[in-house]
Every structure is written in structure tokens, then in C-alpha cells.
């Protein structure tokens, strides 16, 4: 139950005076309470727990890890240590 699920907000409306939204979880749609994320706009991704959107995903921060990976690989080259073989298929993430 602690697993927050990301979904895409598609529209907003009100119910019992609460801001609500329709959220698309990869093709499954649910009505979600936006009382704690009233700033969320359709088109944005939100993290949903127990029927409530609790944060809007920051897109710039979401892509930061990929520049970190490039930096790490540059460091490896400076080190002269071998870079991991990207084609290898051993262990994990199967």
C-alpha cells in the first residue's frame, strides 16, 4: 500500500467541494483526489497513493539521472579503468 503509482492527469473536476482529477495509469483510468496537489495540471504526471495525488513529478529532475550516467562514464575514461560492457547480459534485471 506504500507503493505510489505514477499516472498522467487528464482532466480535473470537483466533488464534495474537493478538487478531483481523472488519472491515466497506462490505460487504466481512475478518479483521484487532488486536495493535496491543487496545482497539478492536465498533462502532468502525479504520484498517487490510496486515491490521492501527493506530488507532481518534476520532469527536469526526472531526466537528471541520464546526465549523471554520462558523467560517470566520462570519469571511467579518465580513470583508464574498463567501462562496463553495455551488451553483456549477466545477472540481475532479468
Amino acid at each position: 500500500m506504500c507503493l505510489g503509482i505514477p499516472g498522467k492527469l487528464t482532466e480535473t473536476f470537483a466533488e464534495h467541494d474537493m478538487p478531483m482529477g481523472r488519472v491515466d495509469f497506462g490505460g487504466v483510468f481512475k478518479n483521484i483526489c487532488l486536495a493535496h496537489t491543487p496545482q497539478a495540471l492536465p498533462g502532468q504526471y502525479v504520484i498517487v497513493h490510496a486515491g490521492f495525488a501527493l506530488q507532481v513529478v518534476d520532469e527536469d529532475e526526472a531526466t537528471r539521472i541520464f546526465s549523471l550516467l554520462d558523467e560517470l562514464d566520462e570519469l571511467t575514461e579518465l580513470d583508464g579503468s574498463p567501462s562496463p560492457n553495455p551488451g553483456a547480459d549477466q545477472g540481475g534485471l532479468g
Partner: protein
């Protein structure tokens, strides 16, 4: 789903694992607090990508697993009443109480319903005014905003046939309890990203300073966990006891102000018993006096109950990171997800269930190695 496939990319995962291997010059033991993270680690084999120097141990972050037996038995009593509709998140249904579980109560004719959101209970209560709708309000800081809103709305909308069994637990006091234990060997923590999404991470800074450990707020996808480990190992190698935020796409330092405010309106901090672990001071929420009318235990006069724990289950040690599931003699033999002896085998966030589902029948390393 956006930022899901990308964060599960095996090539990127191996690049991060190699970076961790370059950083680690000695053995480090790191605990991931949250059961959702344990699930990802075992499902994707994140632990098997790590260099031998870095060991991950699993923490107590499964709310289903730590809900005390007393409250499960009390809920079972309430759920058998004819005048009650008992509502719960789905993961609580198969958790064994002393003598039964919610699924058995339902099979015997009890009106037990799974809800997705606690707000659903209010709709049911309005549609069934002659019965009381009781909600099992369990969880960490992540479900507290939703549960607090349902209770707040019930008072505002004057829904009187609604009550809650509150079993809320908090992560920072559990981290502190683990670090203070004489058995502790955890040197760094990956804090649960979605808990911090609600509460922020101010509270973790004094913890890191007091116990001289780094804490990295970490997300739930394989790359999140690997980056969390990478940052934690960098801090450990540098001897720094800082709090770092790997999960900045979701977690802000101050958390979610609106959610925090509503939690503070409805709940106050109390000591709480954790199943398998014992009482941890100031580690849970209870209803504030203004919301006491919604307390199911006092409404149904259930306070003293005799409970019987299975004495074969070592889930308490597993929840504290002292043992791993495959070290339990009952694991996979007398205890399976179909016939669970302990809550850690029931919940999708429980370590025993994760090991069972992903075929980890032996532990590659034991904690005493």
C-alpha cells in the same frame, strides 16, 4: 508509463553498478527501509548487481507486516458484527490474526470490503445509514494524508456511521530504534522516497548527525535504488553523515505542506507497538481528541484482547534486518503465501513474500557472514 521503462533499463543499471564498484573500497552494509524498495530489489535482482563489498539488508517498512496482532484481532472482532461493514486496503485481508483473518471472516458471512481509497468508505456509509462503516486505517506516512482526509471529511459532512481502527506508524523513529539496537550493523540508510514525499526530510538530518550515518532519500525503480546506493557509498567512503536526495523528481525538502497540515489536524503522535519488534516511542499516530468520536475501538469497547503469536515465525528479526527470509526454517515449507504464518509472507511489501515470489529460496549471504 513515463519514467518507468527508462528507470528499468538494464544497460544503465550495469553502468551504475560499475560506478558503485569503483567507489567501494571496503565492506558497507546499507538498509533500505521500505518494503516497496525490497520488492524492487528482489524482483529485478538489484542486490545481485552490486559488488561484494556492498550488502543490502531489508528494513521494517511494510505497514501490513508491523500492524500489531492486537489491532488485527480487534478488527476481526469488529468485522464479524452484523451491524458493521468492514473496509480495508486489499493487502490486509490475508494477514493472520491469533485465530483467523479477514478473508475467513468474509467467507463466514462478514461484510468485509476492499477499498482503493478511504474516501470510498464515506460513500458506502452514506448509502448504508443503518450500519457502521469501519475502516482499517493502516500505513506509514504515505497513506496518512488519505486517511486523515477521510476522517476530516466525515466530520465536516456529519457522517456519524463511520469509524476507524487507527494503526499508523512512522519511519524516522523506526530508523532510530534500529540504529540504537546493540545488534545493529547498518552503516547507511536508503530512506523511503514516498514517505519523504509527504513529510519532507528535515527530520532525517538530526538522525544522520546523531547516529553518524548517511541517509539517502531514494525512489522505487531499479535505477533509483542503484543511484541511492551509489550516493550512499560515496558518502560512506568520504566519511560524511549527510542527508542526500536521490528522488528529487518527487521529493521536496519540505514535503507536501497541505498533506502535513491535514495530518496534524486529525492525528497526534503516540507510542506504538510494531508487530515482531515491540513498542517504539513516539512512532505512530492516534486520533486527536476532537476526532475521538471516530475511534472504532472505543465505539465497540475493544481495548483488552488476548493475542497468540505463532512461535515459529522469525519475522521480527527479519523486520529489523537481523535475519533474511531464507534463514527461517518455515520459509517455503510450512509458511507460503497460500498458508502464511507471518505477515511478512502475506504483504506484497513483505520481505518473505518477495523472496518467495522471485524464487530466492536461499540467501546468497547471511547477515552474520
Amino acid at each position: 508509463m513515463k519514467y518507468q521503462d527508462e528507470y528499468r533499463d538494464p544497460v544503465a543499471a550495469r553502468r551504475l553498478a560499475a560506478a558503485i564498484a569503483r567507489q567501494a573500497t571496503r565492506r558497507w552494509t546499507i538498509m533500505e527501509v521500505c518494503g516497496g524498495q525490497t520488492h524492487t530489489i528482489i524482483k529485478y535482482g538489484v542486490d545481485q548487481l552490486l559488488p561484494p563489498e556492498v550488502e543490502l539488508v531489508h528494513g521494517p517498512g511494510c505497514p501490513v507486516c508491523v500492524t500489531p496482532l492486537e489491532l488485527i484481532d480487534a478488527s476481526l472482532e469488529i468485522a464479524t458484527r452484523d451491524d458493521v461493514i468492514f473496509c480495508s486496503f486489499g493487502d490486509m485481508l490475508r494477514v493472520p490474526g491469533s485465530r483467523s483473518d479477514l478473508l475467513k471472516v468474509k467467507a463466514a458471512g462478514g461484510d468485509v470490503r476492499i477499498v482503493y481509497s478511504p474516501l470510498d468508505c464515506l460513500e458506502i456509509a452514506e448509502a448504508e445509514p443503518d450500519r457502521t462503516v469501519v475502516f482499517f486505517a493502516v500505513g506509514f506516512e504515505t497513506t496518512a494524508p488519505a486517511n486523515a482526509m477521510a476522517i476530516w471529511q466525515a466530520r465536516r459532512r456529519r457522517i456519524e456511521n463511520f469509524a476507524v481502527v487507527v494503526s499508523h506508524v512512522l519511519v524516522p523513529p523506526a530508523i532510530s530504534a534500529i540504529l540504537s539496537s546493540p545488534q545493529n550493523r547498518v552503516q547507511g540508510f536508503l530512506a523511503a522516497g514516498h514517505v519523504c514525499m509527504v513529510t519532507g526530510y528535515d527530520e532525517y538530518e538530526p538522525l544522520a548527525a546523531r547516529h553518524h550515518i548517511p541517509i539517502v532519500v531514494t525512489g522505487f525503480e531499479p535505477l533509483d535504488l542503484l543511484e541511492g546506493v551509489y550516493r550512499c557509498v560515496c558518502l560512506l567512503e568520504a566519511g560524511r553523515h549527510a542527508v542526500d536526495n536521490q528522488y528529487a523528481r518527487v521529493v521536496k525538502r519540505e514535503g507536501n505542506a497541505s498533506a502535513r497540515q491535514l495530518i496534524g489536524e486529525v492525528f497526534e503522535i503516540t507510542d506504538r507497538k510494531w508487530r515482531g519488534v515491540g513498542v517504539i516511542p513516539r512512532s505512530g499516530y492516534r486520533l486527536r481528541p476532537a476526532y475521538q468520536q471516530f475511534d472504532a475501538l472505543s465505539r465497540f469497547s475493544l481495548t483488552e484482547l488476548n493475542v497468540v503469536e505463532s512461535n515459529n515465525c522469525i519475522s521480527g528479526l527479519i523486520l529489523q534486518g537481523v535475519k533474511k527470509p531464507a534463514e527461517c526454517p518455515a520459509f517455503g515449507t510450512t509458511c507460503t503465501p497460500q498458508h502464511p504464518l507471518g505477515a511478512t509472507m502475506v504483504s506484497s511489501e513483505g520481505a518473505c513474500a518477495a523472496y518467495y515470489h522471485y524464487g530466492r529460496r536461499t540467501s546468497s549471504e547471511t547477515i552474520h557472514a
